[in-house]
């Protein structure tokens, strides 16, 4: 199945993209996508743990099951205000 992955701020600059469609296995969870990104993206390889993530505009943990068409984002430390 396919999910949309979004990148913002420092993650957008480090990956050089603001969004991509990724093929993931049926039954894949948020943490599985993060594990794949850690292998692919040098900037993420240094992370000791998964950053906050969101699925369909709500915070979601690594165990959250993904569905076809979900919008997934890994979020750099937020700094509004």
């Amino acid at each position: 199945m396919t999910v949309k992955v979004l990148y913002f701020a420092s993650f957008r600059e480090k990956t050089g993209r603001d969004e991509e469609r990724r093929q993931v296995a049926d039954g894949a969870r948020v943490g599985d996508v993060w594990a794949a990104l850690v292998r692919e993206v040098p900037h993420f390889a240094a992370f000791l743990k998964m950053p906050p993530a969101a699925v369909n505009l709500e915070y979601a943990g690594p165990d959250r099951l993904l569905r076809e068409g979900d919008e997934l984002a890994f979020l750099p430390p937020v700094a509004g205000g």
Binding site: V78, A79, G80
Partner: protein
């Protein structure tokens, strides 16, 4: 509706208090000229817009649960801001001041930790960097 690229008009926000409100509390966050000892010239704000709107909506709903008599409004500006520009405004109105102060404080504190907005600081030496509050907290 909570995010804007236009300058924030705090006076217009203040004018929205109701006649039943005895306490009106406004917090305005402003871009300052230094951070952690470095001279800054401005800030660029970026948001995950659709999620930020949803997250502010959830934040307002939670505040309404805690303080049913308080009405809170939040406006956050995005894009390139200069020193002195307002980046965020929170209005909390209530029959009495205690709840207005408390809800206003809670609103800005939670916004800073949960709403997906990021800021890149521009320094006087020409460099720039994304602000990471979790890094500052570890110092």
């Amino acid at each position: 509706m909570h995010l804007t690229h236009e300058p924030i008009d705090a006076a217009a926000l203040l004018a929205r208090a109701r006649s039943s409100d005895g306490g009106v509390c406004v917090f305005v966050g402003v871009v300052r000229d230094e951070n952690e000892g470095r001279s800054t010239t401005g800030i660029e704000y970026e948001a995950y817009g659709s999620m930020a709107e949803a997250e502010i909506g959830r934040l307002l709903a939670a505040l309404a649960q805690t303080w049913p008599q308080v009405r809170v409004e939040i406006v956050h500006r995005l894009g390139r801001l200069a020193i002195g520009d307002a980046s965020v405004a929170v209005l909390a109105t209530a029959p009495h001041r205690a709840e207005a102060f408390a809800a206003c404080r809670e609103a800005i504190d939670r916004l800073k930790t949960t709403v997906p907005i990021w800021k890149k600081e521009f320094y006087r030496d020409g460099s720039s960097d994304w602000v990471d509050p979790t890094r500052a907290a570890r110092h």
